[in-house]
């Protein structure tokens, strides 16, 4: 049963390819591109069940409310593409949400200094995560699991369960408000603007030497190190970006929903799921930052679709679970399809001229992949977490 499902998956994706998103057609065959198709399909399904959702006003609001998870997913992307995990993200979100509630309170004058403090703390958490991972050689899964426990415990301890009130409304406008009276759209939520700015920044960053080194470090840390790149510092900055992304998400969420100790709960898993849905490979070295953001949209659209279709509340988790597995399996097939043409249905996905021979482990030179088109050299090698500290 599995072979059949698997063999057809890429074909289905290609069938959709012709109709939408022409400018991305080049990359649609890769998992990083396929997620845009998934977004399109989910969007179409939602609009079919509820035409109101297709109106520009609704769509832009949806983008606004998805911004924090998309931003978190982009932050998580940096860490995952470098071959690591960041499980502390949810706790950082909670910490920032609670801090803003407790420290800003109803005093507008405190907004800027407290925000500065929040960013400093965010960067600090990332720094600790990064240094413990790279210099102390503790697997990032464990480091960030530790920070997750420690941070959330500390915040709850210091704030007596984190139950003070919401911060002043001016501050909450960042997550709740927007530019009003825009033609067609009615409103452009600030989170949507922040998302676009950060997305552009992330793309630029990934095209710069740091970004390329980061992907290389995820693909083959040893070779990257031998090539003279300071892998520890490259990765540490990825962790800092992840925590800073969580900080931004926290600031938006305080505005969107308000202060509560459960804001940010499970954010790390949602973000990782989004990144993986975006075709980014756990274990590092492959994937496009915008696909990670698209993965977040796919995930949120899925939740929304479940709401609209009226799936019984208790079954939602199950449906979500099935879809995540299938999407990632399909993406895996797409990666592998480009590698193993001897499969029964030679995948039409394979980018022309792209197939390369399977790499023999640890001998491949560290080729920095161009983001988004780096589909080539996926091995059947199971990518594993913490692979930097893993072997040798």
């Amino acid at each position: 049963m599995t072979t059949q499902t698997a063999g057809r998956a890429p074909a289905a994706l290609v069938e959709h390819q012709g109709s939408r998103l022409q400018r991305l057609a080049r990359t649609l065959g890769t998992p990083g591109g396929a997620v845009f198709i998934l977004v399109g399909v989910l969007l179409a399904a939602i609009v079919a069940t509820n035409p109101n959702f297709g109106e520009p006003g609704s769509l832009i609001r949806f983008i606004g409310r998805t911004a924090p998870i998309a931003i978190a997913a982009m932050g998580q992307y940096f860490v995952i593409v470098s071959g690591e995990f960041d499980l502390s993200m949810g706790s950082v979100v909670t910490m920032q949400v609670v801090l803003s509630g407790n420290l800003i309170g109803q005093d507008e004058a405190r907004i800027l200094p407290v925000m500065l403090l929040m960013f400093v703390l965010g960067a600090l958490v990332g720094l600790v995560n990064g240094l413990a991972t790279t210099l102390l050689r503790v697997p990032s899964f464990i480091v960030t699991l530790g920070t997750m426990l420690a941070l959330s415990g500390l915040v709850l301890y210091l704030t007596g369960g984190a139950a003070t009130g919401n911060p002043v409304d001016t501050f909450r406008q960042i997550g709740r408000g927007g530019i009003r009276d825009v033609p067609v759209l009615e409103i452009i939520p600030y989170p949507a603007i922040i998302l676009v700015v950060l997305a552009v920044g992330a793309v630029v960053l990934m095209r710069r030497p740091w970004g390329r080194t980061l992907v290389a470090a995820g693909d083959n840390p040893e070779a990257t190190h031998l090539a003279g790149a300071p892998v520890w510092w490259v990765k540490t900055r990825a962790f800092m970006l992840s925590s800073l992304a969580a900080t931004v998400a926290g600031i938006i969420l305080v505005g969107y929903a308000g202060v509560h100790p459960s804001v940010g709960n499970g954010y790390e898993f949602t973000a990782i799921t989004a990144v993986v849905l975006g075709g980014v490979v756990l274990g590092g070295g492959r994937g496009w930052v915008l696909s990670a953001a698209a993965g977040a949209f796919a995930l949120e659209l899925l939740f929304t679709l479940l709401n609209f279709v009226g799936v019984a509340s208790t079954w939602r988790d199950s449906v979500q679970g099935v879809i995540i597995i299938l999407a990632v399996a399909a993406a895996g097939k797409a990666w592998r399809g480009s590698l193993r043409p001897r499969r029964r249905e030679p995948s039409p996905v394979t980018a022309p001229g792209d197939p390369r021979p399977a790499r023999t482990p640890a001998t491949e030179p560290a080729t920095p992949h161009t983001p988004g088109t780096s589909a080539g050299d996926s091995g059947p090698t199971q990518p594993v977490p913490g692979s930097t500290t893993g072997e040798n």
Partner: protein, 419 residues
């Protein structure tokens, strides 16, 4: 295509469901019959054919206990013995336990096995309990209280109770079980020591405890809230029910009662699980408002209510008729918006009662075997009083915390110092 991709795992899920269904067919009799009133004890229901396609709606009947529902329905209008100014000492008249065997001079050591302090309601109660403890320590009733916190894990709490029995040198046990059936054997072991055992909040399926202290219960919550919504809505109106998580019996009772009343009165109720996360709550309400009008909001716990109300504001929709809880954030937002609402109460002041019961036990005074505390919702008329009385308290504070006469009032609750 997509459908075919779905079939394989779905088949697996269906197979699982079938297995479970077959398994339950054999379980017709359940030896541990329901005893205490709070007992949800839902006999392991004969589920018949769980096809995997038809979930909750029908399933809930099997977990619904009509007898308990009826009892709690009556208790809502019962008269309570004792001084109304001290609701934490009030009780419904009923069988009393003679405690003269425990009468003893001098301070005693209390061992408290707590389920957790993982939510604002429990934190507020825990603070109140510690203030009450100080009073009783000063009056020489209690020497010390050793506390073990199970962090919401049944298994840990069982170990905690066993530890107290073996190593604690306790003179009395206070237990706030994290779940009903699972903690029953451990509580029975505590009873077997011959020391007084006080159980509060969620119950256990044994009446061996010296006293079981609790507000009326989850069904009463569901009845109060659902009847309020039914009164203020019309047939065919839509209510969004925001629930924290499935599988927790105390919360399932609230919903079971409400769902029953909604369906009897032609109210369309859709339920969601939110994990008490305001972000989820706001998304859910936004999606519901995008689909159609929502006239009512029902919650099985009130923290996060503000996010639900803000979702209506941001969507430009009319405020719903809403039931929250006596948490300050909801009371404040309710006051500010003037919506039609009700704040049901799961009496937080019950956290004082266990230690006061210990005081009575060591004094040899008789106490109610099942100590049912008052549980009356805060209505719009009463709201102003409670807001004034709790001014300066944090948002996560509960209005009916009942600690106004304790020494640390109000700073301890305002600063929310968790011991």
């Amino acid at each position: 295509m997509r459908r075919r991709m779905l079939t394989a795992p779905l088949a697996a899920v269906a197979a699982l469901a079938m297995l479970a269904a077959c398994s339950t067919d054999e379980s017709l009799d359940d030896p541990s019959a329901a005893e205490s009133a709070e007992d949800p004890a839902a006999p392991p229901a004969d589920e018949g054919e769980a096809t995997g396609e038809e979930p909750a709606a029908e399933g809930s009947d099997e977990w619904f206990d009509q007898a308990v529902y009826d009892t709690e329905y009556e208790q809502r209008s019962a008269t309570f013995e004792g001084d109304a100014a001290q609701p934490y000492l009030q009780y419904i008249d009923g069988p009393m336990t003679d405690t003269s065997e425990y009468a003893a001079e001098g301070p005693h050591k209390v061992c408290f096995s707590n389920a957790s302090i993982s939510n604002p309601w429990r934190q507020t109660g825990w603070i109140t309990m510690n203030e009450q403890l100080k009073v009783l320590q000063e009056s020489g009733v209690i020497s010390e209280m050793e506390t073990r916190d199970a962090q919401d894990d049944d298994n840990t709490q069982i170990a905690d109770i066993d530890y107290f029995i073996n190593e604690g040198n306790c003179d009395a046990f206070v237990i706030s079980p994290s779940s009903t059936a699972a903690l029953t054997p451990a509580v029975e072991r505590a009873c077997d020591t011959g020391l007084p055992v006080v159980v509060f909040d969620r119950g256990v399926e044994t009446d061996c405890a010296t006293t079981f202290i609790h507000p009326i219960g989850g069904y009463a919550w569901g009845i109060d809230t659902a009847e309020f919504l039914v009164e203020n809505l019309q047939e065919g109106d839509k209510v969004v029910a925001l629930r924290i998580l499935p599988g927790v019996d105390v919360l399932e009772h609230r919903w079971a009662a409400a769902e029953k009343i909604f369906s009897e009165n032609g109210i369309e109720a859709v339920d969601y699980f939110t994990g008490a996360d305001p972000t989820e709550i706001k998304k859910i309400i936004s999606d519901e408002l995008a689909t159609g009008d929502v006239q009512g909001v029902w919650m099985d716990a009130g923290d996060g209510a503000v996010a639900a109300i803000e979702a209506f504001e941001d969507a430009g929709a009319d405020y719903p008729v809403m039931t929250g809880e006596d948490e300050m954030s909801f009371l404040r937002k309710w006051d500010e918006t003037g919506l039609t609402g009700l704040a049901p109460v799961y009496s937080n002041f019950q956290w004082r009662t266990p230690l006061l019961a210990i005081e009575k036990i060591f004094a040899g005074e008789e106490i109610p075997t099942e100590w049912v505390l008052p549980q009356s919702p805060i209505t719009e008329e009463e709201r102003g009083d409670f807001l004034a009385a709790n001014e300066g308290m944090p948002d996560g504070h509960y209005a009916k915390f009942g600690g106004e006469d304790l020494p640390g009032y109000p700073q301890v609750w305002q600063e929310r110092v968790i011991p």
